[in-house]
Symmetry: C2
Subunit: 497 residues, 2 copies
Amino acid sequence: MAHQEKATRGVEWRITLGDGSSKSLVPDAGPISRIWIGLKGLIAGLVLKVWKFLMRAWDIGVDDPRKVIHCLKVGMALTVVSLFYFMRPLYKGVGGNAMWAIMTVVVVFENTVGATICKSLNRVFGTTLAGFLAFGVHWVASQSGQEFEPLITGASVFLLASTATFSRFIPSVKARFDYGAMIFILTFSLVTVSGYRVDKLFDMAHQRISTIIIGTSLCTLVTMFICPIWAGEELHILISRNMDKLANSLDGCVDEHFNFNGELKDSDKQPDKKLLGYKCVLSSKATEESMAKFARWEPAHGRFNFKHPWQQYLKIGASMRSCAYCVEALNRCIDSENQAPEFTKKHLSNICLKVSSNSSSVIKEVAKTIKTMKRSPSIDFLVEEMRSAVQDLQNELNFLPKLLSPPEVLHPESKETETTSTTHLLEVIPVVTFASLMIEISSRIQAIAETVEELAELAEFKGEAQEKAKQNQPDTNRIVASRLNDDQQTMKALERV
Amino acid sequence: MAHQEKATRGVEWRITLGDGSSKSLVPDAGPISRIWIGLKGLIAGLVLKVWKFLMRAWDIGVDDPRKVIHCLKVGMALTVVSLFYFMRPLYKGVGGNAMWAIMTVVVVFENTVGATICKSLNRVFGTTLAGFLAFGVHWVASQSGQEFEPLITGASVFLLASTATFSRFIPSVKARFDYGAMIFILTFSLVTVSGYRVDKLFDMAHQRISTIIIGTSLCTLVTMFICPIWAGEELHILISRNMDKLANSLDGCVDEHFNFNGELKDSDKQPDKKLLGYKCVLSSKATEESMAKFARWEPAHGRFNFKHPWQQYLKIGASMRSCAYCVEALNRCIDSENQAPEFTKKHLSNICLKVSSNSSSVIKEVAKTIKTMKRSPSIDFLVEEMRSAVQDLQNELNFLPKLLSPPEVLHPESKETETTSTTHLLEVIPVVTFASLMIEISSRIQAIAETVEELAELAEFKGEAQEKAKQNQPDTNRIVASRLNDDQQTMKALERV
């Protein structure tokens, strides 16, 4: 029998059951090898998954080495703080409470300097305030006798925890002291409740606060002095990079619409990437807000003073988003089914391209103003140029009917001509929509330029006085050169996205 | 002397200085009262500020009583967990490690059920995993002799902390296990490092894990069974409420453009509020994402199964935002300086209003589908109606030239007519832009309806079979009634914003 043949391959185990029949315990070799193959597949799949995961992690690290540096900084800070356990004299000073220093480092160490300082201050002040309050409550409770002590303690924990939790819902508190409120609740509960059992409450509190201060100071020092990542600088770079992206996607969008990328279709990915730059602008609101929130905790660093107007960056971001909404609408014009006929497109393409190139050079100039933190001598000139291009576009729109209606004017044969003209207007609609969106975009770009001008005033950007002489005769060669330079930079930045 | 007169009013203190001159220590009554007035002003200002702050807090509480309930829940959970300190038998079981239970409650208790469960599971698994690893490392370190122990411990802390910190940058880990990774670092460092000093390491670890499990279970129970706030339900409500807002601001925008609110100008605030509803849609991306993130940790609740397709809500949100971008562009048409002449507006107003009312009723019907979780029998009909209205609008645009060119066709006197026609086309541009934006919006609304249809399929919404019979003859009375009802609800919702 086939079954017996298989069974002889391995050692055979038999159990004689109660009813006299016997059953082989050797599983068929077939299933085993099948299981083995399945297992191998499973393991291979798992290895592949892990490998992919590691590759992705590697990419993230290569993409932004500062993340790797941040991780090493965390590891370093933790190792340093562990010394409190390893070195006898240090351990004697703080004892088992050294764990609070470790805990503080783990919880407080954040990616940016601002976030770390914000959390550190919140932790120190939250702990101190809660500690004092808890002492007061503990004293009152201990005076009121054995029976009432748990009651008073419990009630105070309930009341203060509820109130502090509620305060976290208030926007002004949430923006600055969210973490502090949590630490307040934590410390208050721990100290009040521990007071019921621990005798040397004051020693404990003293040790805890000092270990927390050690932990926060260590974090602040490491984060500030070893390859610091400043939230303010990040915000600054984010805004100027987003501006470049916006300018590029505006350019790309107009090029696409007038089919000037027809020849470039072989490098398909390039225009897509360019086109979708505005999406970064649309989606970066939350990042901007958190960066601005942390930036105001940061001391003066690099080119930024302590009171740098970070809130103004949020306004710039908002005006950029308002412009990006329009670019989004413009982008849809490309996909729109009823495209305009070639001749009307040809008619408007030059002026539209001019408007778009002028608009995007205004954005790029504004981005440069932010990047260099110097007032641009040519921005007024560029805005004026953009305006005049918009005026030209409007004039061209005026002339559109002439292009459409020649048959009408020459041969006024009632019905027939009307249909021709009708068809024409309908065909022109996409172009007209496109053009009026361009006009709207340029007015929003002007708004961006104004918010940046406000920033320049608030932050006292320099460079106006020295270059005022040149203002009336802008060095166009320089502008063109810088524009090319900007383009290259942006392409690099986009490749990194 | 005036000075003496003043001095006599109070008790006078004099010190005879070394040089024989004497000086009055009584400060002038003038400065005192001035300081007093200043102080009173300061205190009054402070009281006013505190009062305002409290009023705002009160408003927040009245606005959403669930926030108050959440705070009471936190207070309650903390008080319950404090019992471990107060009751001797409980305290004997876990000892000083009871503080870990308190800490867990403070840190883990979140507003929504999903967030609490997510953090609880992260905390438990992070702690357990780190605990086992730390035991392993501690064993290896203790085998390698007194000298190498601190070295091995320190190196392992550095390595694992860096790796775990890096893993928090990987999007897939960040989305689910961000908190778990932090807890992993915390526990690993604490256990490894404490192991150097603490003898009964196993007892300590055992007690900590059990207290953490006690804390997380308590949080999960309280958050799930006392007035639970489900992240999933919040997301569900947010999406349907935002749809209503979108519909209302679309309606309001079109009304405003055709000046139908001229009579309502006395209640100035109403249209503004309505108009700006779409801004909620634009700004709710982050909220939606975090809700969806937490919703998938939630068990089945109310009308939602465990595997409810929460990700689809994000798609719906994205399609709504894409529509809101266009509404934003439309909204700017109202503010645009060069408004169309009255007669062209009049010509298009009826059909534009029809498109907008049809579009918004599609959105409202779709919102109702989500609210009731029942497939709408009339949605196909409504979409078809919207499409035909769009077709009508396109036809009307076809007829625009007839309205514009009559003088041209009747008196073809070259130059002069051209100018008339020219002016006309330019004047028509805003209306054409407005109309083509309306067309674009309606196509995006169709996209919204499609994503909701996908949701209905994924979540197996009911109601199609029962009402299929009615599908061909929708009960318009019912639709109108429900529309009115929706309007009222949305107005209430808007007032709460």
